[in-house]
C-alpha cells in the first residue's frame, strides 16, 4: 500500500471534476483521481448544448431561466440554487469561450444560441433561443477544453485509479473528511490518499437500467460509496428518461434535433405531441414527452414490426442544415440502425439518461450529512450531486451548466476550506475495508457471474421502475433486488490477476448499482404521487400537500447485520415561485 498527501483530492475528471480542479489547482496542492482517462469521461457524450441567458440572438434574462428550471423540475427544485445557477450561467459560458471552446457563432461572431426543451421567454410564452452549442458535440468540446486547460495549468492526474472508499475520522466528536482509498487498475495496488478536502465528481448511475444513454462506466460509484459510509442520498427516485434514444439501443439523439425542427410521429404519421402539449409540442420537458411516447406505444400507435417505438422525423430539414447542426447524431442513426435521416424517420424510444438525485449539497457544493449539518471537508458536484437544481426533472442543457457552475464552486470552496482547516489523522488501517471487499471477491473460487446478475438487475429496473411505475411493479423490483443482493454475496470472478483486472472492478461496480437500485425503488414506492420523471399509475397527480419535499435515504443496518434503506425528508426551498399546474 502507498500513501499520498494532497490538500484537495478530486474524484472524477469529467466536466465537474476538471472544472473544480482548475480552481482548486491554482490555489492549493490538488490531485485528480479518475477511473477513466479524463477525455474518456461521459461529459464528452453530451450533444445539445448549455443554456445561459446571453441574449445574443433573442431577448432573454436569467430570471426566466430560473423560472423554467423550477417549473421544468416540477417544483421540487431548490429555488435559491436554481437562481445561483441561472445567474452564473452567463459567466460560465463566457469563461469556457475564453478558455478556447469553439462555440458555433452568429453571423456577427457572437456565440450562437438555439431552442431547447422547456426553455421559454416570459414564463412559458414561447420557446426561446438560450442553448449555447458547438454543433451536436457540445459536451465533447467542454471536456476537451477543460482537459486542455488542465494541461496548461499542470493539474496532477492519477488515471485509471478507482476510488472505492471515503475516509473519515472524528475530531472532538465531529466526523471530518480524512481522505480516500483508491485501486490502481494497472498494478492492482491499493493507494491511500490523505486529504483535507475531497470533491466527489463521479457522474451518474445510468447502468442501473438496461436501456440507457449512459456509458458502461457510469455505475454511480461516488453515490454508493458515500451511502455505504452513512451519508444520505437525496431524491434518487427521480431518474430522467430521455425521449429520443435509438430504439433498442438507447444511444442518444439529442433534443437539439427537435430544437432544430425535427418532430415526433406515431405509426400513422401523426404529430402526437400537439395533443399532449399544445404550446411547446415536441419541445415540452422530457418527462412529458417520454410519457407521451410510451403512451402512444401502449395505445397501439407505435411504429415498427412490434409497434414498440415512435419516429423522429427530420426529413423536412435541409440536408445541409442537418450536416451543419446535427452531424454526429445523424451519423449514429446511420451507423447503428442503418437509417438515413435525410429521407427516413428514425426509430426512437425513451432511454434512461440522467440521475436528478444524488449526494445532497449546499450551493457551495458542501455535502450534507443530514438535513442541517455539512460534513466538513467533503464536497460534491455534477451528476453525482443533488443541489437540487433539477428537482423532479432536469431541463436539457442544465447539466452541462450545473457541472460548470457547481464544479467551479466546489473547487473554490474546497481550496478555501483547506486554508483554514487542520489536518485530520487517517483512521486506523484505512485501506482495510477496501482490501477486504476486493479480496473477498477475488478469492472466491466459484459462484455467481457478474454479468448475469447485472442483466437481471437492469431488466427488472427497465420493466418495473421506468417511465411508468406502480406499487405492484415497484414491489416486484424491490423483491428482485433483494434476491439479487443475496446472490451477489456469492459473486465470483474468473480473472484472479493483479494487473488490469477489469473483471474484478465490474463486480465491485455491480455492488454499487445494487445499492442504488434499492434506494431508487424504495424512494419511488414511498412517493405516492406523480411528479416530473417519477410517474405512478396508481397516483397520477402531483400532491404538494404531502410530497413537496425531498427524499433523504440513509443506509442502516439492523442488529442482525441486514442493510435497509431508511427514509427521511427535507423541505424544498421556495423563494419566488409558488407551485402551479404544469401546462406546456
Amino acid at each position: 500500500m502507498q500513501t499520498h498527501q494532497y490538500d484537495v483530492v478530486i474524484v472524477g475528471a469529467g466536466g465537474a471534476g476538471m472544472r473544480a480542479a482548475l480552481e482548486s489547482g491554482k490555489r492549493v496542492r490538488t490531485a485528480v483521481l479518475t477511473k477513466l482517462y479524463p477525455t474518456r469521461s461521459h461529459t464528452g457524450a453530451a450533444q445539445g448544448g448549455m443554456c445561459a441567458a446571453l441574449s445574443n440572438v433573442e431577448d432573454d434574462n436569467w430570471e426566466w431561466h430560473t423560472f423554467d428550471t423550477v417549473k421544468g423540475g416540477d417544483f421540487l427544485v431548490d429555488q435559491d440554487a436554481a437562481e445561483v445557477m441561472a445567474k452564473e450561467a452567463i459567466d460560465a459560458v463566457l469563461d469556457l469561450e475564453k478558455m478556447g471552446l469553439p462555440f458555433n457563432r452568429t453571423p456577427d461572431g457572437m456565440i450562437d444560441q438555439r431552442r431547447f426543451g422547456g426553455h421559454t421567454r416570459k414564463h412559458g410564452e414561447a420557446a426561446v433561443r438560450r442553448s449555447c452549442y458547438a454543433a451536436d458535440r457540445t459536451g465533447h468540446m467542454i471536456l476537451q477544453t477543460l482537459y486542455q486547460q488542465c494541461i496548461k495549468h499542470e493539474v496532477s492526474f492519477f488515471n485509471e485509479y478507482y476510488v472505492l472508499d471515503l475516509l473519515f475520522n472524528e475530531v472532538d466528536g465531529v466526523r471530518r473528511t480524512a481522505g480516500v482509498v483508491a485501486y490502481d487498475l494497472a498494478t492492482g495496488e491499493t493507494h491511500v490518499f490523505r486529504a483535507k478536502a475531497v470533491v466527489f465528481a463521479t457522474g451518474g448511475a445510468g447502468k442501473v437500467y438496461k436501456t440507457t444513454s449512459n456509458a458502461h462506466t457510469l455505475t454511480g460509484d461516488g453515490m454508493a460509496i458515500a451511502y455505504r459510509r452513512g451519508l444520505p442520498l437525496e431524491d434518487l427516485e427521480f431518474f430522467q428518461f430521455h425521449p429520443t434514444g435509438l430504439a433498442g439501443l438507447g444511444i442518444l439523439l439529442s433534443e437539439a434535433a427537435r430544437g432544430e425542427g425535427a418532430v415526433l410521429r406515431n405509426a400513422a404519421g401523426e404529430r402526437f405531441m400537439e395533443t399532449y402539449a399544445p404550446t411547446l409540442k415536441d419541445l415540452a420537458p422530457r418527462d412529458v414527452v417520454a410519457r407521451a411516447m410510451a403512451n402512444e406505444v401502449r395505445q397501439g400507435r407505435g411504429a415498427g414490426p412490434n409497434r414498440d417505438y415512435v419516429l423522429l422525423d427530420l426529413t423536412h430539414l435541409e440536408p445541409a442544415h442537418i450536416d451543419a447542426k446535427l452531424p454526429d447524431i445523424t451519423e449514429f442513426a446511420r451507423t447503428y440502425l442503418g437509417v438515413e435521416p435525410y429521407t427516413e424517420p428514425v426509430p426512437v424510444f425513451p432511454t434512461a439518461h440522467y440521475a436528478m438525485g444524488g449526494m445532497p449539497t449546499t450551493v457551495d457544493a458542501e455535502v450534507l450529512a443530514d438535513n442541517d449539518h455539512v460534513l466538513p471537508g467533503l464536497y460534491a458536484a455534477g451528476e453525482v450531486a443533488c443541489v437540487s437544481v433539477h428537482g423532479a426533472n432536469r431541463l436539457g442543457t442544465n447539466s452541462l451548466l450545473d457541472i460548470n457552475v457547481f464544479g467551479r464552486r466546489a473547487g473554490i470552496a474546497a481550496a478555501k476550506f483547506v486554508e483554514r482547516a487542520p489536518w485530520v489523522e487517517l483512521p486506523e488501517s484505512p485501506e482495510a475495508d477496501t482490501v477486504a471487499l476486493l479480496e473477498g471477491i477475488r478469492e472466491r473460487e466459484s459462484g455467481e457471474r457478474v454479468a448475469a446478475l447485472r442483466r437481471a438487475l437492469q431488466e427488472t429496473m427497465d420493466a418495473n421502475a421506468q417511465v411508468f411505475r406502480s406499487e405492484a411493479t415497484l414491489k416486484q423490483a424491490l423483491a428482485d433486488i433483494h434476491a439479487l443482493r443475496e446472490r451477489y454475496a456469492n459473486v465470483s470472478v474468473q480473472d484472479k490477476g493483479r494487473r488490469f483486472n477489469t473483471d474484478l472492478l465490474e463486480a465491485v461496480e455491480l455492488g454499487f448499482l445494487l445499492e442504488l437500485a434499492e434506494v431508487i425503488v424504495t424512494g419511488a414506492l414511498e412517493r405516492k404521487e406523480s411528479r416530473g420523471g417519477h410517474f405512478r399509475e396508481d397516483y397520477q397527480n402531483r400532491d404538494d400537500v404531502n410530497y413537496m419535499r425531498h427524499t433523504m435515504a440513509y443506509r442502516t443496518e439492523s442488529s442482525d447485520g441486514d442493510a435497509t434503506v431508511r427514509l427521511d425528508f427535507k423541505p424544498v426551498v421556495v423563494t419566488r415561485y409558488q407551485p402551479m399546474e404544469r401546462k406546456f
Partner: protein, 252 residues
C-alpha cells in the same frame, strides 16, 4: 475454442438476422504468458451487434479475464481503438455484419504502443506527445468582458480537427511511428492544427517551432493510413499538410 449460446435479440428489431461469427483474438496476459497467442471463440451474434458486443459476450459469458478498455459504446470517448481485421477501428463503431463473416474476425491491440494486457496498451507516450504541442488557447492581454468574436467562416476553418477523440487509431497506424517512437505522430499534429488555425489563438509561432523539430511534422511520409483509420472522419493527412505549408510559408 468455446461456443456461446443464443441469449436474446435486441428489443427493437425483431427482423434482425442472427449469424455465427468466429472471433480470433490476440491475447496476452503479462502474469501468465511469455508471449502473445491467438484464441478463437465462435458466437451467435445479431445484425445490430458491434465488435464490442462480441468482446463483451466473451468476457461476460466465457472468459472474464479478456481485457479491453471501453466506456461510451458509441464512438465518442475514444477508449476502444483496436486492430480489427488488420485495420485500426473502434470496436464499438464496427458492426459485425459489415465484416466478412465467412472467415474469423481478428482483433489485436493497436501497434506502436506497449501491450500491457490483451487489447490494453500503454497510452502514456501518446498523451505525452499531445501535451508537448501546447494544446490550449494562447492569448495575450486582458480577457475581454464578453466573448472573443469569431466569424462563422473562421470557426469553420479548424472545425475538422476539433472532432478528435484521442483514440490513437491514427498514430498507431502510422509506419513512421512504429519505427521511430520519437515522432510526435499524427494525433499530436491534429491537436496542434486545431489551435494553429483558430483565429483567436496567438501561440501558432511557438507551436510551429515545436513541430518543426526533427521529430516533428517533417517525418510524415503522407501514407494516408491515419486518414483511413480515423473513426471521426478527420482528414488527418490534410491537416498535417496544412501545418507543413504553414511552416514553409513562415520560413518564406
Amino acid at each position: 475454442m468455446a461456443t456461446a449460446t443464443v441469449e436474446q435479440a435486441p428489443a427493437a428489431a425483431d427482423a434482425v438476422p442472427s449469424f455465427q461469427v468466429t472471433m480470433r483474438l490476440r491475447r496476452f496476459n503479462p502474469e501468465q504468458d511469455t508471449e502473445a497467442r491467438w484464441e478463437d471463440h465462435t458466437l451467435t451474434m445479431y445484425g445490430t451487434d458491434r465488435v464490442l458486443d462480441a468482446l463483451h459476450k466473451i468476457k461476460w459469458e466465457i472468459d472474464g479475464s479478456l481485457t479491453f478498455r471501453r466506456s461510451c459504446a458509441h464512438g465518442i470517448c475514444g477508449s476502444d481503438a483496436m486492430r480489427i481485421n488488420g485495420r485500426n477501428r473502434l470496436a464499438c463503431k464496427t458492426l459485425l455484419k459489415d465484416l466478412p463473416l465467412d472467415k474469423p474476425v481478428t482483433v489485436e491491440p493497436i501497434k506502436g504502443l506497449a501491450v500491457l494486457k490483451d487489447f490494453v496498451v500503454d497510452m502514456e507516450p501518446f498523451f505525452e506527445a499531445y501535451r508537448s504541442i501546447m494544446p490550449f488557447l494562447v492569448t495575450s492581454g486582458n480577457d475581454p468582458s464578453r466573448e472573443r468574436r469569431q466569424s462563422p467562416e473562421d470557426r469553420a476553418r479548424y472545425d475538422d480537427t476539433t472532432k478528435c477523440i484521442m483514440c490513437a487509431a491514427c498514430t498507431s497506424s502510422c509506419p513512421v511511428y512504429w519505427t521511430d517512437g520519437q515522432y510526435f505522430g499524427p494525433q499530436a499534429i491534429v491537436g496542434a492544427h486545431r489551435f494553429i488555425f483558430d483565429s483567436r489563438d496567438e501561440g501558432a509561432e511557438q507551436r510551429l517551432e515545436i513541430l518543426n523539430d526533427r521529430d516533428g511534422v517533417w517525418r510524415c511520409r503522407t501514407t494516408f493510413n491515419c486518414t483511413d483509420a480515423c473513426p471521426r472522419g478527420i482528414e488527418v493527412t490534410k491537416a498535417i499538410q496544412e501545418v507543413k505549408r504553414a511552416l514553409l510559408f513562415r520560413r518564406g
